[in-house]
Every structure is written in C-alpha cells, then in structure tokens.
Symmetry: C2
Subunit: 241 residues, 2 copies
DNA sequence: GGATGGTCTGACCAGTAGTCATGGACAATA
DNA sequence: TATTGTCCATGACTACTGGTCAGACCATCC
C-alpha cells in the first residue's frame, strides 16, 4: 500500500499519517452507521460529512467514491466479526457442529447489542449493485475473513465431516445454508419480511436451530456419527403437526 | 384504478384497455433488457423511453416509479420461468431428485439462449435496494411462482423426502441451496467472479451437479431410500446416486 | 361538430454523486 | 522569524438522474 515503512522518519510523516488514518477511521465509523440505518442508496454522503463536521469534499478526497467508502465500511464490518474457530475451548472440543450451534445461538444475542456491522454486511450481500457485489466477493474469496477453510479442515480432521465430497464444495454448502439461515433468523426480528419465512415465532428460535443443525449434519456430516452404543436417546418425534 | 370491468362495454373501453395493456407490455419488454444489461441503477429510464420512441414521462405515467417498473419486469421474468413440476412425464416419474437434476442440467442450456429473465431475477435477488427486495420477497411468498410447496409435497408423498422435519423448512432448505448453487453454476460463465467459487472448469459442470445432488439428498432425502428389497442390508456405506 | 376523458409530451424541478481551484495549517529549512 | 513547500479541507460548482405537471393531443361518444 504505502511506503511509509521503508522510511523511518520518526514523528513527522508518521504523525501526519496517523492523523490521516485516524480521520479515515472516523469517517468509516460514521459511514457504517449511516449505511446500516438508511441503506446504501438512501444514505447521503452529505449527511455523513455534516455529522462529522467536515465538508463533503473531504470524504471524497479520502475515499474517491461512495462505492469505495461503502467497501471500506463493509470490510471493517466483516473483519470485526470473529472467525469460525474463535470459540471457547470447551465448545471447540465439542466439535464442528457444536461450534456451528454456538455461533447461531450467539449471533442472535450479539445482534441486539450492536446490529450495525451485521446490517452493513447484509446490505453488501443483497442491497447494492452487482458491480459492488463483485468486489465484495473478491474480498471474501481472497481474505476468507471468517476462516471458513480452516474450520472445514478442522471438521474433516476430527472426522466429523464426510470425505467423499470435495472439501471446497462442503465449505460452499456450509456457507450457503449458514448464511441464508442466519439471515432468515436474524432479520426475523430485525427486519421482518425481508426473507422468505415470515411467520416464525421467536420463541421457537432454538428449535429451529436444532432443526437446521439436523439437516446440515445430514448433508455434510460424516456418514455414521451415532453408530456406537449410545444410551438410546429417545428422539422426541413431536415435530410433525 | 379503473372500473372498466363493472361495465360490460364490448369494444370501446375494452380496446382502450387492451391498447394500454399492450403498451405496458412493450415497456416492460424493453425495461427487462435494459435492466438485465445495465443493472438496476445503471439502467436509465430515459434510454428505455428513447428506444421505445416515447417520452420518459409516459413511462412514469404507466409505472409511477423506477422501482415499480423494475418490479413489473422482475415479476414477468420470474413468472416466465417454468414451475418445478413442469417436467416431462418421464422425468416426473423418476421422482423428486431426478426432477431437481433435470432443472439443473436444463437451466444451463436454457440460459445461453435467453439470459435476460435470469439476469433480471438475479438483480432482484442481489442487486437492488433492501426496500425493493422486501417487495420482491412478498411477491415470492404470496405467489410461489415456481410452485415450490407443491413440489416438496410431491417429494414427501412419494416417500423421497424425510418427514421428521417441518415440511416448510425442507422447502426453505431446498430453496436456499438450489438458488445459491444455480447462481454459482450459471454466473460462472455468465458473470465470472460474481459468486464465491471462481476456478471451476465448465466441463466439470455435470460432476458438480451430481455432487450437489448427493449433498442435497443426504440433507432432505428420506433416511433409507434403498432399504426395503434386500433382506438385511448392512448399512450401505456408499451413498447411492 | 362539440364535449369528454384518458394519454402523451417535454420542459421543468429537486436533489445527489462527484470535481476542482483556492486557501489555510503545519513542518522543514534558513 | 520569515520562507517555502506539501498536504489537506473547503464549498461553490457541474453533470446528470428520477420524478412532476400543465397543457397539447387524440379517440371515442353524444
């Protein structure tokens, strides 16, 4: 990116640089909120500048275009999320699907505290131009911010995931279903009507999660995970109406 | 809007109505192409009007806003697609997953002939505002244009789908995975780089489809599709195709 | 012919992303 | 302290778009 590291100027250009960096960060902060609250197209660069107490032109001087500003906000939002394997050691020891469950349960709670980054990610995934989406995708492919690949490898190494299918494909499958399910789950309270199923009662959330995990395990789990002599768990069959 | 249907005037208001309808149809036709080629935001209402040889104002008179114009285009695109069960009787008899395979194979070919409706659908799903997406979603929920519910019921009735999970949830799961896989598959040649996996060789398409079907069948298929005939099948390890 | 109602028009408006010449703040130098 | 040069903030400005509307236009109906 920059060549600041080659020169070891102590304070001069360094502080200037830090100053500029700090300003960029402030702008991105405000931009995230605006994008999250208004959506990409409704958000006004002018409003962000006003809130920051700076001129609109400054924003463009720093980011060049609204698209790139959003991209910066998107990247910050996504990189602020933890990776798949950033779970308590205890959960990690319980394995792959326990980790998936952990995140599903956790995300619902986390969301209530701070939904801004999630909303920005959502907008990046569904609510911008296809051109922007292409750049977003490139970022996701190159950076793998959630460390999905390592997570799948983790599952395979533990023998929890099937090996008769290309590992990348398993990762994709997890990615697809996880993302859509999470969106359905989260937007249910955050933005009702945005995704398919509209009626779900919130108190059924945990049951839905277990249902999802069952399907997911069937799909990508290793063939016989429950073969050995477990003490016959009485599978409650009350699911059917 | 108008109360023409209450009066049974034969030709007068009827022909006017037809005329108006025809014009709307022409506009939607052109709009579809423009949206498909340029994307939602890059497409200019002015350009569409110019191509049609009419004034921009007329477009707005008929549709009120660009959003509603796109919505009309989207609806036409989606309803132009066949439903899940609109397959040759032969395929239908082969069952649920054979039908899924049929559509996966078929869509790739169909796309090359006419990619406009597909592109419009894609833009509706990923490349507009969240507000528009909400309306799109409402349409999909209310109309179920692909007859997904009936298709899933078909699979359940045939005993090909598992019954221990809510039927709606199975439908959602199929919807999610199908859509993402299809997008990945189709955009691979149509728009490389739009979705996650970028490297796939086109000649591997059929293999990928079989891989997908295997995962899908594991996820939502009935537990033991190959149990009955043999006396004591020893837990077949190999997933049957 | 004249009245009537809907349709088309294009000039017009409001509002936004993006530009740029200007000027100021600040650090390095003398 | 004065000078100089670099970078950045500024806000007036442009280009262009979606959207509006009063009136022209036109087909139908008395």
């Amino acid at each position: 990116m920059s060549s600041s590291l080659t020169h070891s100027q102590p304070s001069a250009s360094e502080s200037v640089r830090a100053r500029s960096e700090a300003k960029r960060a402030r702008i991105v902060d405000v931009a995230m909120r605006h994008f999250a609250e208004q959506g990409y197209h409704q958000a006004r660069v002018q409003d962000m500048a006003a809130e920051l107490g700076i001129a609109k032109g400054s924003v463009f001087q720093h980011f060049g275009s609204k698209e790139r500003l959003f991209l910066a906000a998107y990247k910050r939002a996504v990189t602020s999320f933890p990776g798949w394997l950033d779970v308590p050691g205890e959960t990690r020891e319980q394995g792959f699907f326990a980790t998936v469950r952990y995140w599903l349960l956790r995300t619902v709670d986390t969301l209530r505290e701070d939904w801004v980054p999630y909303r920005v990610a959502l907008i990046g995934n569904y609510g911008t131009d296809l051109g922007l989406k292409r750049q977003i995708n490139r970022f996701l492919v190159n950076e793998d911010p959630y460390r999905l690949a390592a997570f799948v490898k983790f599952g395979v190494d533990r023998g929890e995931l099937r090996r008769d299918v290309d590992q990348d494909f398993v990762a994709s499958f997890l990615d697809w279903t996880w993302e859509r399910f999470q969106d359905a789950l989260l937007t249910e309270e955050l933005d009702p009507g945005l995704f398919r199923r509209h009626g779900g009662r919130p108190e059924r959330t945990e049951a839905r999660i277990e249902e999802f995990l069952r399907l997911l395990r069937s799909a990508i789990g290793a063939p016989q995970p429950l073969a050995p002599p477990k003490a016959a768990p009485k599978k409650a069959r009350q699911a059917r109406r």
